[in-house]
């Protein structure tokens, strides 16, 4: 059990560091992430800028911090939306059953028919470079996991004798959800949330890297890697830094979630 504790601790440390950078970084670092200075292009680290400058002379540290804020808030927002939608629909489907359950199940099957990235790519064509298609697409791809978990667990919990007793006492759905369903669901929902969070952070960087996500000059880890890839020889640290942060975020969230979730 101790190795499990170690994994969680490493995960919490990684995620904590990135979240701290996301919250405090843009405050503490004065440099403007968009301000170019071509005379100071590709400066090495540990000079005026802690992590050097990119090919347009922008502070890499400032860009990393602003990108961290973007990725963390994006991941949290899309995973939270997916969790709310999936949990809500799952509870309603399990409680109501019948036609509601069938319709929700069909929606779930329709979403799962297509790999999530394809859905996001088609949506991205609606508004290239915009924020909302990515958010919508990733949240739509993620809600299914929450829905399936909640529906399965809630169905079996609803058969339990204590739930029947609560019903006989005249308690309503809300009470049953709060007292008998959610406490059972919360640990698994937390793990799914961490996984979804990591998946959406990775997805937004991937999409930006291949040029269909957020566009330059937006500071975003995937974007920064695209821009700095041609300069891997002159500026290796500047290229490695966004990759390292992305890795730390996703690894940390996966460790927090625990293995075997997906």
């Amino acid at each position: 059990m101790s190795s499990r504790f170690v994994r969680r601790a490493i995960g919490a440390a990684c995620v904590g560091a990135v979240v701290l950078l996301a919250i405090l970084g843009p405050w503490l670092i004065e440099a403007d992430p968009l301000r170019q200075n071509l005379r100071a292009a590709l400066r090495p680290p540990f000079g005026d800028d802690l992590l050097g400058t990119d090919h347009l002379g922008r502070s890499v540290l400032a860009r990393l911090a602003h990108a961290a804020r973007l990725s963390v808030s994006f991941g949290a927002a899309s995973a939270a939306s997916a969790a709310l939608l999936g949990t809500g629909l799952g509870l309603v489907a399990a409680l109501r059953g019948g036609i509601v359950d069938r319709v929700a199940g069909a929606l779930c099957d329709a979403t799962m028919a297509l790999p999530g990235l394809l859905l996001v790519l088609i949506l991205a064509a609606f508004a290239p470079g915009a924020f909302w298609p990515l958010y919508l697409g990733i949240a739509l791809a993620l809600w299914v996991e929450f829905f399936r978990l909640v529906r399965t667990v809630a169905r079996s919990r609803l058969m339990a004798p204590e739930v029947e007793a609560a019903r006989l006492f005249g308690f309503g759905d809300l009470h049953i959800v709060k007292r008998h369903l959610l406490p059972h669901l919360l640990p698994a929902l937390g793990a799914l949330f961490a996984f979804g969070f990591g998946a959406s952070v990775a997805a937004v960087s991937t999409l930006s890297f291949i040029g269909v996500g957020l566009r330059p000059p937006t500071p975003e880890w995937g974007n920064m890697m695209t821009e700095l890839l041609p300069y891997y020889d002159e500026a290796p640290i500047q290229l490695l830094a966004p990759a390292g942060l992305l890795f730390a975020t996703v690894l940390g969230l996966q460790l927090l979630a625990g293995r075997d979730t997906k």
């Binding site: 028919a113 394809l118 859905l119 064509a125 990775a202 991937t206 040029g211 269909v212 890839l229 293995r259």
Partner: protein
């Protein structure tokens, strides 16, 4: 055989969902583009400076663009059902013909990656399980966990920088020589192998603790025979079933890896179609990738039934 029919029906339904989802989204995408569709099509046909209101009206009447939206949507979906995918707005070629050209390289890359990961992942997983708790197991599972946390594009860049630019032993991108296959295939296979090694490790551990293994040992079989005769097939069932989940990763990875390595496949074309907003091409490539996903899923269904007789009789 009712089980087979049921599984096939499920996959057919999935294929139908893919076609509907892609078709409807692309229809709305075409509707949402700025400007008057009739003017746009007239401009494409007769040249930008020959377009007049009269020409646009003629196009509108000819293509029925003034009909209500639901009729046009039905028309749009009927065209998909007839496999009439239109022509690319960029190259002017028939989308279907382009897809036929690209399909081979995409399927080749996917199968090569699947084969490589199957050669590496499960054997490593069994190896780790047999040494559970010892150093090789600890290192292996940590490496697999780290690999799973790296998005495929980052793995691809790392391989590209190390092997193509630093050591200069393989080409960084392209499709023209046999060595070109190495980097894209390895990139995809590494992610798949990381997951399948973890799943095989768990599955093997579970089987090794089961009573039939204890019995095989009690009757005096050597450790190698115990694993080969009694553990492998039992452990293979969950690993192959898990392949179904991994297919999502494979299809998404193909899109990313093809773009990164300039691989002339469907995923590469899909990303370009999104950037150019080439709707017929986008629709065609998304349909092809989606249907490829369904097809691979069906193959996994059948593999599961072949390996595990319990599924057949369930």
């Amino acid at each position: 055989m009712g089980g087979v029919g049921r599984a096939l029906a499920d996959r057919l339904l999935q294929a139908l969902f893919v076609a509907l989802l892609v078709g409807v989204l692309c229809f709305f995408l075409a509707e949402a583009l700025p400007g008057d569709q009739a003017f746009r099509i007239a401009a494409a046909r007769y040249g930008e400076d020959m377009v007049s209101g009269i020409a646009a009206d003629a196009v509108r009447a000819e293509l029925g663009l003034d009909r209500p939206a639901w009729l046009r949507l039905a028309d749009w979906l009927l065209n998909i059902a007839r496999i009439d995918l239109g022509v690319s707005l960029v190259s002017g070629e028939s989308v279907f013909e382009e897809l036929v050209h690209q399909l081979g390289s995409t399927i080749g890359l996917s199968l090569a990656a699947l084969a490589l990961s199957a050669l590496v992942g499960p054997p490593l997983g069994v190896f780790f399980a047999l040494r559970a708790g010892k150093l090789p197991d600890a290192i292996g599972t940590a490496a697999a966990a780290a690999l799973r946390a790296l998005p495929s594009f980052a793995v691809g860049i790392a391989l590209m920088l190390v092997f193509a630019s630093w050591l200069a032993v393989v080409p960084a991108a392209g499709y023209d020589q046999p060595q070109s296959w190495l980097l894209p295939t390895t990139t995809l296979a590494l992610g798949l192998a990381a997951t399948s090694s973890i799943v095989s490790r768990q599955a093997t551990l579970a089987v090794l603790q089961s009573s039939q293994i204890a019995f095989a040992r009690t009757k005096g079989l050597g450790e190698f025979d115990v694993v080969r005769r009694h553990a492998v097939r039992n452990a293979a069932a969950p690993v192959v079933a898990y392949l179904g989940v991994q297919l999502v990763y494979l299809v998404e990875g193909v899109v990313v890896v093809e773009s990164l390595f300039a691989w002339p496949g469907i995923g590469h074309a899909l990303v370009h179609a999104v950037i150019a907003r080439d709707i017929p091409m986008l629709q065609g490539t998304a349909l092809a990738m989606g249907l490829l996903f369904v097809l691979l899923n069906a193959a996994v269904d059948f593999a599961c039934r072949a390996i595990d007789p319990r599924v057949r009789h369930a």
